[in-house]
């Protein structure tokens, strides 16, 4: 596909300002809730106030008669048996019995479960009327402890029991490894339930066009094509009659944009009522409705030889999935055990996970799903093992990290339907580089200084393996219009991560244009009907590679036309800055705009049979993921009097293969670390003994603010380009959060001088205070 035209290397690698910024910083972004249509109605969900019970009846008469109310809908009004299917099927798990209904018909299984919808002329009237819906629920015992719920005597949420899946991944002779070990180290680590909680809650507008039968949807951001197709199936429509528009989104992090009950209800209501219907989730709803994540208990053990080398690793995980299996199915528990060995040489491994359903909000992915949890367990285990083996925490890591010459390393496991093949890299070198950077930044000095001043100060270290660039395919269209503007229609979605800028940089370089000439539309199902969406740190890798191919094809086609216009050989042409010129004769040149016009239907430069227009569609396919890796280091102070933990310094070192936009990579890492600090120290969805959510406001669900997050240092390395894609890029979305739990657990453990594990995240003051008192001082 390459012709003789040169590929200027300009935009890729530059820390360009974001193309999104002018509109977002000037308040011109358009988020789901910003849209409005004449005659629009408002929907309000009625949610279960109890954690578990049989729904005897739903009285809707009073609500239906209230001022401004158009209709009240319950499961009885919907097509029967509607349940939301799993988007990502793995490990042949049959989850049919555990899917979430759109509206609960006979049983409610968590506080917040949708049971009815009220539609009214304005959102206030809808909320007033929703209070009038009379729910008669025969309460049943709540199931809250996943380990107990997995047992035979627990109250059942489903006729088939509470265990949705129980599977083991692994390889090698684990029993043998433990049998011949010189030392076995085993700890229990619990990860608290928390979640993505993007600052913009969800919003959805569905607008039917009675003339064409089309349905316009605003507010589905993540996997719009998948959601469109699913919605079309559920509504019995042709999928091209549904148009999901691109909108801005205030963060996704895994939770936004999956297919939730509301994603069926709002379009269904709009079709049924023949009116536009708007739904804007409020914060109170969001905290009980949107996917939670992370809650797991690990019983993890490793077998070591005398020199501290890992012989075998095993983990037994209880994964609390909440009340249903939603669109993510069991991928979070799967990723947990598949990624658990991380960047280490683990000759034998077995990870078992039980996916248990409980009377809580159902779970899905949250940025670095499975890796945040698994890395916390594994790295605590290594810290405790280092203590027992009397070697340093760095030493145990460098002895066990896979060396560059041991890669690629295939682990006989699969995840997300792909084989686990660690592609390339130099893990020990990055650990050393991270240490050197921390030394240079004065981390060890700061620890020493604090300790001399009598503080409980600790340094944490954690290494991790990420995964990114999940295929299997992605499609991109690149179109040059008559003005020379380059339009990219990508299958990614803009969630605030800057993907428009990154794709513009990639397109500009591949096409020989300036990034300013390029505009990127993400997530519009009419413009890109084959998009795979933005998740799993995939867009720069797979959408970027598709854009690279499509833009390269346009460059080749432009050169072909330009050659005709200039009467030159395509091989003698140079494409740069939106101009195509003859090598050595810069005066002989045409602009992209001129070339685009030369492809107009009546153009003399078009040969018979050639299509008009300057555009290309390309598909990028990839069988394996690429595995970025990194190291986190942190310095914390523990106040033994209050149990408070203050994060003083934080470094993320990350191998990204190739940074298309280093400032955006740094931004991803910093944002991830901030979220990770939240998950490690502050955020938790708590429930009381009746299953009532106790973290239903931002007062009780404590996200970190600027005051709790120190400046995050980043070290971005580009030493190991990914072999599996033409750009050499690895994803950057999750490396900032992946090892945050691990590194802060490590730092607090170090500050307190604990021999054992910290036991549980989040490290709340009460817990830390208890560890400080009972765990023994330095």
């Amino acid at each position: 596909m390459t012709t003789g035209t040169s590929i200027p290397r300009g935009a890729i690698g530059a820390s360009m300002a974001r193309k999104e910024d002018p509109r977002l910083l000037r308040g011109r972004g358009r988020f789901g809730g910003d849209f409005a249509r004449p005659g629009q109605l408002w929907a309000r969900l009625v949610r279960s106030p109890v954690a578990h019970g049989r729904l005897r009846s739903i009285g809707t008469d009073d609500a239906a008669r209230a001022d401004g109310v158009v209709t009240v809908v319950t499961a009885a009004s919907l097509p029967p048996g509607l349940a939301i299917p799993v988007r990502l099927q793995v490990q042949d798990a049959d989850l049919r019995d555990y899917l979430q209904p759109v509206l609960a018909a006979d049983t409610v299984r968590y506080v917040g479960e949708p049971v009815a919808v009220v539609v009214a002329g304005d959102p206030y009237a809808a909320e007033d009327a929703a209070e009038l819906v009379d729910l008669d629920i025969d309460e049943a015992p709540a199931v809250l402890d996943a380990a107990a719920a997995a047992g035979p005597d627990a109250p059942r949420l489903f006729p088939g029991g509470n265990v949705a899946a129980d599977f083991t991944l692994g390889y090698g002779d684990v029993a043998g490894a433990f049998a011949r070990a010189d030392r076995i180290v085993e700890i229990a680590v619990e990860i608290g339930r928390h979640g993505a909680v993007p600052l913009e809650p969800r919003a959805l507008l569905a607008d039917p066009d009675p003339a064409t039968g089309r349905l316009s949807i605003f507010g589905m951001t993540k996997v719009p094509v998948f959601n469109r197709d699913l919605l079309a199936t559920l509504l019995g429509m042709d999928e091209t009659l549904i148009h999901v528009h691109a909108v801005d989104a205030g963060g996704g992090f895994g939770a936004r944009g999956e297919f939730y009950p509301e994603d069926f209800l709002v379009p269904w209501l709009a079709r049924t009522l023949r009116r536009p219907v708007m739904w804007v989730e409020d914060r109170g709803e969001h905290l009980v409705a949107v996917n939670h994540s992370r809650q797991q208990v690990h019983q993890i053990a490793a077998a070591f030889d005398t020199s501290g080398r890992i012989l075998g690793l095993r983990d037994d995980v209880v994964h609390d999935n909440g009340a249903y299996c939603r669109t993510h199915g069991i991928i979070v528990p799967e990723l947990t055990v598949a990624m658990l060995p991380g960047p280490y040489r683990v000759p034998a491994y077995r990870g078992r996970v039980r996916v248990v359903l409980t009377s809580k909000t159902p779970c899905g992915t949250y940025r670095a799903p499975g890796r945040f949890e698994g890395s916390t367990a594994r790295e605590q285990l290594l810290d405790v093992a280092a203590h027992q083996l009397k070697i340093s925490r760095n030493e145990i890591r460098s002895r066990n990290l896979l060396r560059a010459d041991e890669l690629p390393c295939q682990r006989s496991m699969s995840t997300l339907g792909t084989d686990v093949v660690l592609d390339a890299g130099d893990y020990p070198a990055l650990l050393a580089a991270a240490q050197a950077e921390a030394d240079r930044l004065g981390y060890p000095d700061e620890v020493e200084r604090g300790r001399r001043a009598g503080r409980l100060r600790g340094l944490g270290v954690a290494a991790f393996l990420e995964k990114s660039g999940l295929g299997p395919q992605e499609t991109a269209d690149v179109v040059v219009s008559r003005t020379g503007a380059v339009h990219v229609f990508s299958g990614g979605t803009s969630l605030g991560q800057g993907i428009e800028t990154v794709l513009a940089q990639i397109a500009a370089d591949a096409l020989g244009a300036d990034p300013d000439q390029v505009s990127v539309v993400n997530g519009d199902t009419d413009r890109q009907p084959f998009g795979g969406g933005s998740w799993a740190s995939r867009s720069t890798v797979v959408a970027g590679s598709a854009v690279h191919a499509a833009a390269g094809a346009v460059r080749d086609r432009a050169a072909e036309i330009a050659a005709r216009m200039l009467e030159a050989d395509p091989g003698d042409l140079v494409s740069e800055h939106g101009r195509i010129s003859v090598r050595g004769d810069p005066g002989a040149a045409v602009t992209l705009a001129e070339v685009a016009r030369a492809t107009a239907p009546a153009s003399p430069y078009l040969r018979p049979g050639e299509p008009a227009g300057l555009s290309a569609r390309r598909r990028f396919e990839v069988a394996h993921m690429t595995y970025p890796y990194g190291v986190h280091l942190a310095v914390v102070d523990v106040d033994p009097g209050t149990g408070g933990v203050q994060v003083l310094r934080y470094l993320v070192a990350y191998e990204v293969g190739r940074a298309v936009n280093p400032a955006l990579v740094a931004g991803q890492l910093r944002g991830g670390a901030a979220q990770g600090i939240g998950g490690a120290l502050l955020e938790e969805f708590c429930y009381d003994e009746n299953g009532q959510p106790q973290s239903a406001t931002f007062m009780d669900y404590r996200m970190p603010t600027a005051a709790e997050v120190p400046p995050i240092d980043v070290l971005i390395t580009q030493d190991s380009p990914a072999p599996g894609n033409p750009l050499g890029v690895r994803g950057a979305g999750e490396g900032g959060v992946s090892a945050a739990g691990a590194v802060l657990a490590s730092a607090v453990r170090d500050a307190l001088g604990l021999a054992g594990s910290v036991g549980r995240l989040p490290l709340t003051p009460a817990r830390v205070q208890e560890l400080a008192t009972n765990g023994g001082g330095r």
Binding site: D128, G284, G643, S695, T705, P765, A766, Q769
Partner: protein, 291 residues
């Protein structure tokens, strides 16, 4: 998270407010800074059928120090207290501006009012703790005229006071200065309500930090976040003790032993007791060192 329906009135004077409240009856509520009331209405935890907005009443935003102590107008914003640099106020009541920074975040301090905080009667609120510590008086206007109530007779429990529904707080009066005083607290995030807060004062008899060998005449300790009311610790045992670290530590243990705090998402009673001991000791250390 939208409030239930309500009607809205704006008043321009205290008598008009009182008359309006009397006319509207028990379902009406005063709206001041709105920083507690509006969130509660959005959660539908409060459902007033009418709001009487008092923020346009002139003349109720002031800090005035004089021979009979400090008077603070009910509509004085938290931020106004925080920024107060009047030497007469700072001399003796410097604790108030210092404590203000613990209240919420800047936008909340810019809107929330002193009177609103006292009326709201959150047992962890800084102004409520200081009112108890400094034995302030609440000045109320009602249909029968004005009355002055000592705070010890004002707070009744969580968010409840002895004010009548048709009464408005117009002023807080702090009759006695406290030079050696401090408020400190702990929350996991800056700006959160205190898990436990300790407001303390020490009477050293003289200005300035304690001389070696000096004794405390008396110590006052008030805790927030440990029960339905600001908790006044019985500190009788500390009178005459040396003004020194060991006494401050003992005061912390004394406080921890006297409280019976609740368990909640922040931790159990044992954790709150430890926190109280720590904070009382730290607050007293800071108070004694005050100029």
């Amino acid at each position: 998270m939208k409030p239930a329906p309500f009607s809205y009135y704006r008043t321009r004077s205290v008598p008009e407010t009182v008359a309006r409240l009397a006319e509207l009856g028990d379902g009406a509520k005063i709206l001041a800074g709105g920083q507690s009331l509006v969130p509660m209405m959005n959660f539908r935890l409060a459902r007033p059928d009418a709001l009487v907005d008092v923020t346009r009443i002139p003349g109720l935003e002031y800090l005035r120090a004089g021979p009979d102590g400090l008077r603070i107008g009910a509509l004085t914003r938290h931020r106004t207290v925080e920024l107060c640099r009047d030497p007469v106020v700072l001399d003796g009541f410097g604790l108030l501006p210092r404590a203000a920074r613990w209240i919420g975040h800047y936008p909340i301090r810019a809107r929330g009012t002193f009177g609103g905080s006292i009326a709201h009667a959150d047992p962890a609120a800084e102004w409520c703790l200081l009112a108890v510590l400094l034995e302030a008086n609440v000045v109320l206007a009602g249909p029968a005229g004005a009355r002055t109530v000592p705070v010890s007779d004002f707070f009744e429990g969580f968010y409840t006071t002895t004010a009548e529904p048709d009464e408005m707080i117009t002023e807080l009066h702090f009759p006695r200065a406290a030079r050696h005083a401090a408020l400190t607290e702990f929350a996991q995030r800056q700006g959160d309500f205190a898990v436990v807060a300790a407001a303390v004062s020490v009477d050293l008899g003289v200005a300035g930090p304690p001389r070696p060998g000096a004794a405390c005449r008396s110590v006052r300790v008030v805790l927030g976040g440990v029960g339905p009311l600001p908790f006044v610790v019985d500190t009788g045992a500390l009178g005459g003790q040396p003004a020194a670290a060991a006494t401050w530590r003992a005061a912390g243990e004394l406080a921890a032993a006297q409280i019976d705090p609740p368990a909640d998402g922040h931790g159990g009673p044992a954790y709150r007791r430890r926190l109280a001991a720590t904070l009382v000791e730290r607050a007293l250390t800071e108070a004694a060192a005050a100029p």
